[in-house]
């Protein structure tokens, strides 16, 4: 019913004429001269980057599955697959227009104000255009990334249907609106400090949003049975496949080379080389710091924390990747490696919240760190963004405001969203279903059917 109204509303909006006419065939966007060639190269770059970001879904699925127990594997994979699938549809129907309406980055996206956008619904009307489609695909992959971050924090005890409702609302509303404020020409991007709040590839827009919605979800759904002793001491619940965790991290790292350099939306912007270098260095620095910290603290090099440290570095470099020099990328990644371990400890031992894969610490905390890092390390060589090291404090103020806003927005709306789901349809499976495992109780399919399972 609600969805029907939304679709009808979107169709009406799609009929509102815009200033730029759409070019659905691409014939007038491609001009056959040198400019046309540049356009074609840029299209190729953005589309290939979008495909790389899509592959990050496989990385998230692998990391998550490796970090949880065998009996919840099918459930995690089903959530992984459904969040981008549902997310794609709702980002088409609602999310994209809310986020990029008024940005004018492509035809059909003219209408919007400082708070929300309202054109480009359904990629119809003037938004039925090759440039708009290219931007949509790239951005839809980002929306799906933000959505899937939450799966890890709520693994092993959340109702499948409740998770799907969450997915719809996050990709249709929570993610696009903060995204509009930063990327769609909204009020954060026009703050009167520095160059306004900037977030090159989405430490805040994608990762902090996902991470703090995850915090709200993990808090409201409660810990897995047996995660905390009666005195509150956390209990280790080992995952079921370390190889998957490491392979998944490699896949995510690889995808990040689309996520960050692709965010130039142009291959003719040769800064892409510096961005790729910064991305690589921050991911490496996070891993190195996590490795040696665990080694000096416990005498053993902890592979799960090495992977988490690396992802933390990648999350943190996502906002500043275009604005900082390589030496700063190393520092940003290294600090992320420390932050992620401190945060994992804090979430488990102080907040007593059960986050099986560390999504809150990797994406939430380091998403904020990435936003702040722009205000510190931006050297002014790109986009005229100057941080503290370039002698300007205004940018840091803008970044701090953006970081505070994303925390309040994502955590606040996350709490509201999951509270509504909890009282409307229930957020958590029964204790019996949890003990048997969600593979059997929610999907009726074991993740590794053995010889016994095929006996009829």
């Amino acid at each position: 019913m609600i969805i029907g109204t939304l679709v009808a509303g979107a169709c009406l909006w799609a009929l509102v004429p815009g200033a730029m006419a759409g070019d659905p065939s691409g014939a007038s966007t491609y001009t056959g001269d040198l400019e046309g060639l540049k356009t074609a190269i840029n299209f190729t770059w953005v589309l290939v980057s979008a495909f790389l970001v899509f592959f990050m879904q496989a990385g998230f699925a692998l990391v998550g599955v490796g970090a949880i127990r065998t009996k919840n594997t099918v459930n995690y994979l089903a959530k992984s697959y459904m969040d981008f699938s549902l997310g794609a549809i709702f980002f088409l129907v609602v999310g994209f227009a809310l986020m990029f309406g008024g940005s004018g980055v492509a035809p059909g996206l003219e209408l919007g104000n400082a708070l929300i956008g309202y054109s480009g619904w359904l990629l119809a009307g003037d938004a039925y255009d090759v440039t708009t489609s290219m931007v949509w695909l790239f951005q839809a992959m980002f929306a799906a990334t933000a959505a899937t971050i939450v799966a890890g924090a709520m693994a092993g005890r959340t109702k499948f249907q409740a998770y799907l409702v969450y997915t719809v609302l996050v990709t249709a509303v929570i993610y696009p609106i903060y995204g509009h404020w930063v990327w769609g020409g909204g009020w954060l991007s026009t703050l009167p400090f520095g160059a306004g709040a900037v977030d090159f590839a989405g430490s805040g827009v994608v990762h902090a949003v996902g991470g703090f919605v995850a915090l709200a979800g993990a808090y409201l759904v409660g810990p897995r049975t047996g995660k905390f002793k009666t005195d509150g001491t956390p209990v280790a619940i080992p995952g079921h496949n370390v190889t998957y965790i490491v392979l998944g991290t490699f896949v995510l790292f690889f995808g990040w080379f689309g996520f960050n350099p692709g965010s130039t939306l142009a291959a003719t912007d040769l800064r892409i080389a510096v961005i790729a270098v910064n991305t690589f260095l921050a991911g490496a620095a996070g891993a190195v710091v996590a490795c040696y910290t665990t080694f000096f603290r416990t005498g053993k090099a902890n592979i799960f924390l090495i992977c988490n440290g690396s992802l933390a570095g990648l999350v943190a470099i996502t906002a500043p990747c275009a604005y900082v020099p390589p030496w700063a990328a190393v520092l940003i990644g290294a600090i992320a490696g420390i932050l992620v371990m401190a945060s994992i400890w804090f979430v488990e031992w102080v907040l007593k919240i059960d986050d099986p894969v560390g999504a809150v610490s990797v994406h939430g905390v380091n998403g904020l760190w990435g936003l702040l890092a722009v205000g510190i390390f931006a050297d002014g060589t790109y986009g005229d963004v100057r941080g503290l090291i370039a002698g300007s404090s205004g940018q840091f103020v803008a970044q701090a405001i953006s970081a505070a806003v994303v925390f309040l927005w994502a955590f606040g709306l996350g709490l509201l969203l999951f509270a509504v789901i909890k009282y409307a349809i229930g957020l958590r499976v029964s204790k019996e279903e949890e003990i048997v495992g969600l593979d059997i109780s929610e999907h009726g399919t074991p993740s590794y059917p053995g010889p016994m399972d095929s006996w009829r």
């Binding site: 047996g226 003990i435 059997i440 999907h443 009726g444 399919t445 074991p446 059917p449 016994m452 399972d453 095929s454 006996w455 009829r456």
Partner: protein, 112 residues
């Protein structure tokens, strides 16, 4: 000496272990087994068809105790493995003829 073989729910292992530890029994073996008792099987899905599995995963716990410990050990296992639902398991007690500790050569109840 008696051997106690208990079939228990997987998630009850920690409770059973600490119940036995409380009465001074630390040595035991555990094996993952599949089997069935009175309970019916569960129905699973594979692509477009479904199938029933009536061999369900359980743990088999083996512990050898002195004659005078049998009653308390059985009681500890039964109480800690109990949920009141079908599938709580079974406890079997059987005689043991001899026990020899490999390292020291001790025999009988001394070796336990």
């Amino acid at each position: 000496m008696k051997k106690i073989e208990a079939i228990i729910r997987e998630e009850k292992l920690d409770e059973v272990k600490s119940a036995l530890e409380k009465i001074g029994i630390t040595g035991l073996n555990v094996a993952e087994v599949k089997g069935r008792g009175q309970q019916k099987g569960v129905k699973l899905q594979w692509r477009a068809t479904s199938y029933t599995v009536d061999m369900l995963p359980k743990l088999k716990l083996e512990v050898v105790v002195k004659d005078k410990e049998v009653k308390t050990a059985v009681k500890a296992i039964r109480e800690s493995a109990y949920t009141g639902n079908f599938g709580d398991g079974m406890i079997f007690v059987m005689p043991i003829e001899e026990v020899i500790r490999v390292r020291t050569g001790e025999q009988g109840e001394e070796a336990l």
